[in-house]
């Protein structure tokens, strides 16, 4: 091997011509990472440095984690990670794409191909000299930026040993991400022959899997009645979608940030190995494409002719199904409208892609068989969803194959205002019901399963959208959504709500470490007479009472009894950075709780709101029109009593009743002398007193008739 063909010589020579890339990356990463961090730290120190050193240190530490680690790692929410990491991700992606394009786009120019490919340099040396420079032009500026940020953090005494481990782990992961994007971009350039096709190729590689999965997800959601939005992860689990793999890995990282690099990488396990495998495969394919690519491909759209029909048909099917889905949403799933949409989408994609591939307008009239094939494939895929050809909705797991289940009722979610974030995700984490048969009962009670209808028109909110997670013995998990008429399935509902595993999952008061570790604890009792704050030393006893009373927590009780009040627990650390809150409905069956509250003077069982109300106001929305309102006021005690006895407090316990249990167009408000205002709903079974109907000239609305 002569010196001209040595990797070192070629890499050095290539580097000389690409200095601008290195300068650009350095500028971008230095400004975004250490310089920005330094500026923000200085500002924080100015604001808090003297009087609130702890706050400065915590805030600055979070900033540093965010600066290097893509987000506030104390946050569990993936959205916050994405929001604060967007710019860093974008910089990495842009670096990778520009490095690939700038390094390998000589393949698009015949003159450059003539020059470089006639030289006595092997394709392997040429490929890897460009490759190494592209990687180096990102890696050095990025690593220096990370190091500088850490040094600045050290200057402000922010850095701990565990944080160093975290930074090392996240940096390795970010480099892997760069490599995966870089390799895919090189592959796209090697497979294409001009900039337009190249950019389209890069976008396709980075986004096509996400696009396909998203489309499948949308169609499942639109046409499969039992498909749950929580099945999104099943469908959206990426194979080669780099950004998705990276963000999923990041979420695992974000849960507990301070660990050693090795343990972090182990924790992220699948994401790291997935990213690594993807990088390797993309690099191998990129090199093979580069080596075998014909020189005459320069200036053409695709380097390999056999890829053209594949690209075109894929684009046509995606475009057809996308337009079909949009029109499905707008037309209420009219098959004819969707069919037109699919045809138009396929045709549009055929025209655009033909022109891009062949670089002339007349290409639209060539290869019409591909247009036909695109329409056929799109139609077939649409039919699978529209007519449920795979019988998705009928598929219920065998009880013998199920390990445990989790069941999240919408009514429970609305009733239990105690969880931040996603109620169903929390239930899934906490609930492991061994009574798997109850889940199958839910499947059998599902509206669509029972009626065979294609659509549920639930104007009266009669049906509860229940999410069921089946955990199979083989490790797989399936989500399903069932629409349940709770009132018609009271035995099934009682079986579920009476289940101890269910209660322990839903009610955190059963956790052994409930409210443990918090510095500040508070408890409130709210009823129609207002809100009272309990003493901290009363909280433990109250919790004990609630736990005992909730043994009687059943569907029948919830449905038949009227909620008396709510108990809320809140807790936080001394800096208010870590907080929790919880609330529990108090029903007449909660005898011990009520007795305790009465004993402590927070509740009076014989106290009537009526004794304190001096006025009742009734608001009538005529024909449910918020602009057409009639109001009547009553201050006669007998009249007020007659009105209130037919009502229920509107923010208590309505979720276990059906919506059509209440009059939709009537709202009642009570006013006490000390300014306490309460809102009520009128129970339909009881109705409005005659004198009120007469005063309001009340007419039943059509909705109440269930149309």
């Amino acid at each position: 091997m002569t010196s001209g063909n040595s990797l070192w010589a070629r890499t050095k020579e290539n580097a000389r011509r690409r200095r601008w890339l290195w300068i650009g990356n350095s500028f971008a990463f230095f400004i975004w990472m250490p310089i920005r961090f330094l500026a923000m730290c200085s500002s924080l120190q100015r604001d808090y440095g003297t009087n609130a050193v702890d706050i400065f240190r915590d805030s600055a530490r979070n900033l540093l984690m965010s600066n290097i680690g893509f987000g506030n790692v104390s946050s569990l929410s993936s959205y916050s990670v994405m929001y604060s990491s967007f710019t860093t991700l974008l910089l990495i992606v842009l670096s990778a794409v520009i490095a690939a394009m700038e390094g390998y786009s000589y393949l698009y120019d015949r003159r450059k191909v003539d020059r470089f490919h006639s030289e006595p340099v092997s394709s392997r040396v040429r490929f890897f000299s460009i490759y190494l420079n592209g990687f180096k032009n990102f890696a050095l500026p990025y690593l220096c930026s990370v190091l500088l940020s850490v040094l600045i953090g050290g200057y402000y005494h922010l850095v701990t040993g565990k944080m160093i481990g975290y930074f090392a782990g996240i940096t390795i992961f970010a480099m892997l991400f760069f490599l995966a994007v870089y390799h895919m971009a090189i592959l796209a350039v090697a497979l294409t022959g001009n900039y337009i096709a190249g950019v389209c190729g890069i976008l396709a590689f980075l986004g096509i899997e996400w696009a396909i999965r998203n489309l499948v997800y949308r169609y499942c959601l639109a046409y499969y009645h039992t498909f749950s939005t929580y099945s999104r992860d099943e469908i959206m689990s990426p194979v080669f979608s780099v950004a998705t793999i990276f963000l999923q890995g990041l979420r695992k990282f974000a849960v507990d940030g301070e660990k050693t690099a090795a343990s972090l990488l182990r924790q992220m396990g699948g994401s790291v190995s997935g990213m690594l495998l993807l990088s390797v495969i993309a690099l191998v394919l990129a090199y093979l494409a580069y080596r075998n690519r014909p020189a005459e491909a320069a200036g053409h759209s695709m380097a390999f002719g056999f890829l053209k029909p594949l690209v075109k048909i894929t684009a046509m099917v995606l475009a057809g199904l996308t337009l079909g889905w949009i029109l499905s949403d707008l037309s209420g799933k009219s098959i004819y409208i969707v069919g037109i949409g699919i045809f138009m989408g396929v045709l549009l994609a055929h025209c655009i892609v033909s022109i891009i591939l062949e670089q002339r307008l007349s290409a639209v009239f060539h290869h019409l068989w591909q247009l036909g094939l695109g329409i056929a494939i799109s139609g077939l895929i649409f039919s699978v969803f529209a007519f449920d050809l795979t019988r998705f909705d009928d598929r219920v797991p065998k009880e013998s194959d199920i390990d445990t289940v989790a069941i999240a009722l919408s009514a429970q979610q609305n009733d239990s205002s105690s969880y931040y974030g996603d109620f169903i995700k929390v239930m899934v984490r906490r609930m492991y019901l061994k009574d798997t048969e109850v889940a199958l009962q839910f499947a059998a009670a599902d509206y669509f399963h029972q009626t065979g209808d294609n659509e549920l028109l639930d104007y009266n909110n009669q049906y509860d959208a229940t999410t069921v997670l089946y955990r199979m013995k083989n490790g797989k998990e399936y989500y399903r959504t069932y629409y349940i008429d709770m009132a018609a399935q009271s035995d099934m509902m009682n079986r579920l709500l009476d289940n101890d595993d269910y209660k322990r999952a839903v009610f955190r008061i059963y956790d052994e470490d409930y409210m443990a570790g918090y510095d500040r604890k508070q408890c409130y009792f709210e009823d129609v007479f207002g809100t009272k704050s309990l003493r901290e030393d009363e909280i433990t006893d109250l919790i004990e009472c609630l736990k005992q009373d909730y043994v009687s927590y059943s569907y029948t009780n919830l449905r038949d009894e009227v909620e008396i009040g709510q108990i809320s627990f809140t807790a936080s650390d001394k800096n208010y950075t870590d907080q929790m809150s919880d609330s529990y409905a108090v029903y007449p069956f909660c005898k011990k709780t009520l007795a305790y509250l009465e004993k402590k003077g927070y509740y009076e069982s014989d106290r009537s709101l009526l004794d304190e109300v001096n006025r009742v106001e009734i608001t009538y929305y005529v024909d449910d029109d918020y602009m057409n309102v009639k109001t009547e006021n009553y201050d006669d005690r007998a009249e007020m009593e007659e009105i209130i006895k037919n009502c229920q407090l509107s923010n208590f316990g309505i979720w276990w009743k059906e919506q059509n249990d209440y009059m939709e167009d009537i709202y009642v408000s009570t006013y006490t002398g000390d300014g306490n205002i309460q809102s009520f709903r009128v129970l339909k079974a009881k109705g409005l007193p005659d004198f009120v109907q007469k005063d309001l000239e009340y007419e039943e609305s059509t909705q109440e008739k269930g149309y």
Partner: protein
């Protein structure tokens, strides 16, 4: 030696080169003639290992050239539109060439650069087309490779420059046995430098012959006969390729050795006769007319 054996190359279903076979011996200057679209550039790209043929093989010193670094070291290719790095100067390009070709003659390059009046620190982007061609020629010759492959290199050069380049090639041939392949669509351009020519037309080789052999085997004779009868007798037993008469002056293109033709005319009754040198154009005309082509339509530049 460069051997092109039965190479075929198609682009989008259209055959650019169809079963072309050519042999270029060491020390030769091989002229590849053809119109636009004849397949010259494609043939050269295959010859230099830039393109892979669909069929056949291209060998340099008995080894295939494609993906062969060892053989590519022996070849310098000057394409029809040479590429220079943006913002590069002749000095930077020389440095680049020196990194690729270890035997690059830097001193010789700067001498010639000076001789041709090109500034070494001036940006090549500001050069004219002709200056760029000069530069690429200088760079390529200074690589000291065994073979130099030129694609329409003389286009854009003024006559003086053309002569300078030709004499440079000639001197290299003499000094180190440089073998040159020059593709062009202009016969007149190659006349005084090539010693072997190949004519490509629509992807195929019409003819490939040694120039001296061609010149030896075909002669141009101008003569005047005393009578018409003498003319008839005089032109008997001759392989006349072309005959032209202006007044009593006959201009005949005759296939045969010069000595034999002189001997023949010595015996017939003529007022005078003279054997004249044939231009490359005239040789080609006669050769291709035999094949049924009008060379004037094919390659007259």
């Amino acid at each position: 030696m460069i051997e092109i054996k039965h190479i075929t190359k198609s682009f989008d279903g259209c055959k650019a080169v169809d079963d072309v076979s050519v042999t270029i011996k060491e020390g030769q200057v091989f002229g590849l003639i053809g119109t636009n679209g004849a397949g010259k550039s494609t043939t050269l790209r295959i010859m230099t290992g830039v393109m892979k043929p669909d069929a056949g093989e291209a060998l340099v010193d008995e080894e295939p050239i494609y993906h062969n670094v060892g053989r590519k070291e022996r070849i310098t290719f000057i394409p029809d539109e040479p590429y220079f790095f943006s913002s590069a100067t002749p000095a930077i390009m020389a440095q680049y060439y020196a990194s690729i070709y270890p035997a690059f003659e830097m001193v010789q390059f700067y001498e010639w650069l000076d001789k041709f009046g090109l500034e070494k620190t001036r940006r090549i982007a500001t050069f004219s087309k002709g200056m760029k061609k000069q530069l690429i020629m200088l760079l390529s010759i200074c690589t000291q490779t065994k073979y130099l492959i030129c694609d329409e290199t003389f286009d854009g050069l003024d006559p003086v420059m053309r002569q300078s380049v030709k004499s440079m090639i000639a001197s290299q041939m003499e000094e180190r046995g440089l073998t040159c392949v020059i593709a062009s669509h202009n016969l007149r351009e190659l006349e005084d430098i090539c010693d072997h020519v190949g004519l490509l037309h629509r992807g195929g080789v019409l003819l490939s012959k040694d120039l001296q052999d061609m010149k030896c085997n075909i002669q141009k004779v101008q003569c005047v006969f005393q009578t018409e009868t003498d003319a008839l007798i005089g032109m008997q037993n001759l392989d006349i390729v072309q005959k032209e008469k202006r007044g009593s002056l006959y201009t005949l293109t005759i296939r045969g050795k010069k000595a034999e033709i002189i001997a023949h005319f010595s015996q017939v009754s003529t007022v005078f006769f003279e054997v004249l040198p044939l231009s490359l154009e005239e040789i080609f005309i006669s050769e291709t007319e035999v094949a049924g082509y009008d060379i004037r339509k094919l390659v007259m530049g």
